[in-house]
């Protein structure tokens, strides 16, 4: 896991380093142009005149000490900047992931009961829509619908600034209300995958010998389905959920931008535009961390589900 992080840190640095232009160019641009001497001065200030490997080494050491440097744009420590936004993204990603898993599995089990029936067709259509529609399109559609026609959910931000006082629950429900649309939008792609996968996996398991054994024991349909079949068909869904965790994180960037959700996504978006390298690197490392932790959680969940798996 540490290896993964180190490799990502190095790769990220390389990637940004190889891109044309640097922070000095950007600053010079915003200042309306600068001469050679000013440019050299700027580069020296940001350590850009050092040899490549020294820049890299300095960077890795700093990252290890949780020092991601200063944001060129906000002029704040990157770590503080990220920590300020991180909880919002975490909330969005996890709630969307849980919602899409829950809905996906529910629909998958429902569809598997009668694989050629009307309900199964409906679930398939629904899922097809889910992963065919680009997330920003779904987002904007929901945005229009809920801002113009049914204004029951707020369409941007995370908190209502008019609510200042009040106890914990007031704030809690306020965040929840704001979370609703971004969460639905982000979940809409993934529940489609999960429901298709769960349906296929359930269908396979329902044909297994031990399901026949369960029926031969005289268990009710519900027990056969939810106890014996579902538990066995979950592992591909959870494995895939773990793998797609990175896709959820990257999907979050788009969704956050659409709904102005104050998370890492909007921060990333802004820092790409302003070429704020340290911030961008910090975000990349944080999302890597999030994905690795997500994968670790997946492994632990699989282990808990299936005694045959050894880690």
């Amino acid at each position: 896991m540490l290896m993964v992080l180190l490799v990502v840190v190095v790769l990220n640095f390389l990637m940004l380093h190889l891109a044309p232009g640097d922070i000095a160019d950007t600053i010079a641009q915003t200042m309306g142009g600068a001469d050679e001497q000013d440019m050299a001065e700027l580069r020296k200030q940001y350590g850009l005149d050092q040899p490549f490997f020294i820049q890299l080494f300095n960077y890795v050491v700093k990252v290890a000490l949780l020092d991601f440097g200063q944001s060129h744009f906000y002029n704040l420590p990157v770590f503080d900047l990220i920590m300020e936004r991180f909880p919002a993204t975490l909330l969005l990603v996890f709630s969307a992931q849980i919602l899409s898993l829950f809905v996906g599995i529910l629909l998958g089990v429902y569809a598997a009961q009668n694989p050629n029936g009307l309900s199964s067709l409906f679930v398939n259509m629904f899922s097809l829509f889910g992963y065919a529609a680009p997330v920003f399109w779904t987002g904007i559609l929901l945005l229009i619908a809920f801002s113009l026609h049914i204004p029951i959910f707020p369409v941007s931000g995370m908190r209502d600034i008019t609510i200042e006082s009040g106890n914990f629950f007031v704030h809690f429900f306020d965040v929840l209300r704001h979370l609703f649309l971004p969460m639905i939008t982000l979940a809409s792609i993934f529940f489609a995958y999960y429901s298709r996968l769960c349906r296929a996996s359930m269908l396979e398991v329902l044909g297994a010998d031990f399901v026949r054994t369960a029926k031969a024991k005289g268990l009710s349909k519900k027990d056969v389905l939810l106890k014996h079949a579902l538990k066995n068909s979950l592992s591909p869904v959870i494995t895939f959920a773990g793998l797609s965790f990175s896709a959820v994180v990257s999907g979050a960037i788009l969704v956050e931008t659409v709904y102005s959700w104050p998370g890492l996504g909007t921060l990333a978006f802004n820092s790409i535009i302003s070429r704020d390298t340290p911030v961008l690197l910090g975000i990349l490392i944080f999302s890597t961390l999030m994905v690795t932790v997500g994968n670790l959680l997946t492994d632990l969940m699989l282990k808990a589900l299936d005694p045959r798996i050894k880690i």
Binding site: N116, A208, D209, F210, R212, T213, A214, K215, A216, K217, G218, L219, S220, K221, H228, K231, N232, L305, D306, P307, R308
Partner: protein, 600 residues
């Protein structure tokens, strides 16, 4: 005695794309209280489907009872609601299945799976159900049942899993137990134990048993009465003695003729093909003499697999799969290796052509030391040794026409010109008695026996000197098995082939071999001429193994007292383990007995 089950004019239809197909046709029979009825027939004859219809568990939308009725305890099952049927299943009618590996839910412990059925039907609380589950595991002779109840299926051996299945089936003292090929997937020793267990429990509880099998020897061991089925129909019914001593229907006769019976070759020095029903009586069955010229000499073959573990995936132990094995195969003769699963017999076969790399030893084929060849020469040498595998369904590529699959080794070695390839493949199809029109077909269009013929044709393509047949007929129905065995013996005479025949089926081995080697835990415990091994087994393991084989004769039943197998010890040892070399003593001419301790 009173009828417990009576099936009247049962018809079952299958819905396929080609239309409806009658799977069971006008079937009627009864099962009396506390009797064992064996339903016997080959795959696809409708015996399992009949059993499932008795459980009212026919797969929905695929199979359907179209007419006729099934009375259980004077109740028509078709008139019961789903809830009432759920109350009967597992309670009054219960079932054990063929595959113990897949019939248990892998994610629940043995104890959970047994206690679940008790709680479902007996209204006991969790603790009491668990306690009675442990008692049941004890009754089916699982050692340390209070601890093993916490084991998951993957921690149990095949035999133990089938015992757990039996515990589940008998948990609620059912009136009838349906056993669908419960021992087909098990080793002969474990089969003997499971059969004895079912018989014992049956006597204790007085439950009736409907026993479904394709194996006439098992029928002879178990049945009070027998129903013989042949595509969807009952062709004969009678007591076990009537069926075995005086079969009436042609099909029953051919079924009995196709079963190799242990002991029937005792007076013959050389193997010979089986006489199948329908062949002319005048057709001479020529014994296969072979030569005394050695083809393959194996000396001190050792194969060990590493067991990796720890963070760095280092070798932490070794599986001693083959331990100091030596034997010789003569030109034109067959050596059989027998033993239980895990004894290393397949690894010997694979080591010979270096599909697994042996740890040490000597393999000499016609003067060429196989183990010292470089990869290029090894490739050439492999054309002399070909393999036929167990599963004809899995060992052919489903997406290539049969012509290509048989031609592949020829193209691979580039020894036959393209113009004559067609003719050569045609000859091979003739040889294995498949019509040439099959050349452009795909594997799914063929039956199991036909596929195995293709596998044999593929093995023959390179004119090998030795064919390694690894359980090559184990997956086939008896009548098909007999045909394939006869084909192999015919080819042996015509082409002077040698066979290394790897099998767990003692009766088949007796039929085909010149020499027999018995393996236990990686060692060859006894090797010698077939007659000597079968008539005068010296090693205690060989003796017990022969005792376990069911005999297709209802007068020679075995009781459980005769069986005392020890569980197979683990072949995994740590890196420092250095086993003693195998020492043999010659008890008779060419009959060698292991004197080193092999762990039995």
């Amino acid at each position: 005695m009173e009828d417990l089950v009576s099936i009247n004019n049962l018809n079952i239809e299958a819905r396929t794309r080609a239309g409806t197909l009658k799977v069971v046709n006008d079937l009627s029979f009864t099962i009396k209280k506390s009797e064992t009825l064996c339903v016997v027939g080959e795959s696809g004859c409708g015996k399992s489907v009949t059993a499932l219809s008795l459980m009212s568990l026919l797969p929905e939308g695929i199979l359907k009872v179209s007419s006729g009725d099934i009375l259980f305890d004077n109740t028509n099952l078709a008139q019961l609601s789903e809830a009432e049927l759920e109350g009967i299943r597992g309670n009054e009618i219960s079932m054990i299945f063929q595959e113990p590996m897949t019939s248990l839910n892998p994610l629940f412990t043995a104890g959970e799976q047994v206690s679940e059925v008790i709680r479902r039907h007996k209204n006991l609380n969790k603790e009491k159900a668990w306690a009675s589950a442990v008692e049941l595991l004890d009754a089916v002779k699982i050692p340390n049942p209070d601890k093993r109840a916490f084991d998951y299926p993957f921690q149990l051996s095949g035999g133990q899993r089938q015992r757990v299945m039996i515990a589940i089936a008998l948990a609620c003292q059912p009136k009838i137990l349906i056993a669908d090929e419960p021992t087909t997937a098990l080793d002969v020793t474990i089969q003997a134990e499971i059969l004895a267990l079912i018989n014992m429990l049956k006597q204790e509880t007085g439950t009736a048993v409907m026993f479904i099998t394709h194996d006439m020897a098992v029928v002879a061991q178990m049945a009070d009465r027998v129903v013989v089925m042949h595509p969807g129909k009952k062709v004969e019914e009678g007591t076990v003695h009537e069926i075995f001593n005086n079969p009436q229907h042609e099909y029953t006769k051919s079924l009995l003729a196709a079963v190799p019976k242990l002991g029937e070759m005792a007076s013959k020095k050389y193997p010979e093909p089986m006489r199948l029903v329908g062949e002319k009586k005048t057709k001479a069955l020529k014994p296969i003499v072979g030569t005394n010229e050695p083809l393959l000499k194996v000396n001190n073959l050792v194969t060990r697999y590493p067991v990796k573990g720890g963070v760095l995936r280092r070798t932490i132990a070794r599986v001693h799969a083959v331990e100091d094995v030596s034997f010789t195969i003569m030109k034109g003769k067959t050596l059989s290796l027998v033993g239980e699963s895990g004894c290393g017999k397949s690894t010997v076969g694979r080591s010979l052509i270096r599909l697994v790399e042996p740890t040490s030893g000597n393999v000499n084929l016609d003067g060429q030391n196989i183990l010292s060849l470089n990869p290029k020469d090894m490739r050439e040498a492999r054309s002399n040794i070909q393999m036929v595998f167990q599963d004809p369904f899995a060992s052919l590529n489903p997406q290539r026409p049969l012509f290509d699959q048989v031609a592949e080794p020829l193209r691979n070695y580039g020894i036959v010109k393209r113009e004559v390839l067609q003719e050569k493949i045609g000859d091979l199809f003739d040889r294995v008695k498949l019509p040439r029109s099959f050349m452009q077909r795909y594997p799914h269009e063929l039956s199991g026996g036909q596929r195995q013929r293709i596998a044999i044709a593929r093995a023959l393509a390179l004119n090998p000197k030795l064919i390694i047949a690894d359980e090559a007929v184990s997956a086939l129905d008896v009548s098909v098995q007999a045909q394939v065995l006869n084909l192999m013996m015919e080819l042996q005479v015509d082409l002077g082939l040698s066979f290394l025949f790897i099998s767990h089926d003692m009766a088949v081995v007796e039929r085909v071999s010149h020499d027999v080697g018995v393996m236990y835990l990686g060692r060859l415990v006894e090797i010698g001429p077939r007659q000597a091994i079968f008539r005068n087994p010296q090693h205690p393991y060989t003796q017990d193994l022969l005792k376990a084989v069911p005999i297709a004769d209802p007068d020679k039943r075995k009781s459980e007292r005769e069986l005392n197998f020890k569980p197979l010890p683990s072949p995994i040892h740590d890196l420092t383990h250095d086993p003693a070399p195998s020492e043999y003593k010659e008890v008779a001419k060419n009959h060698y007995l292991l004197t080193t301790d092999c762990g039995y």
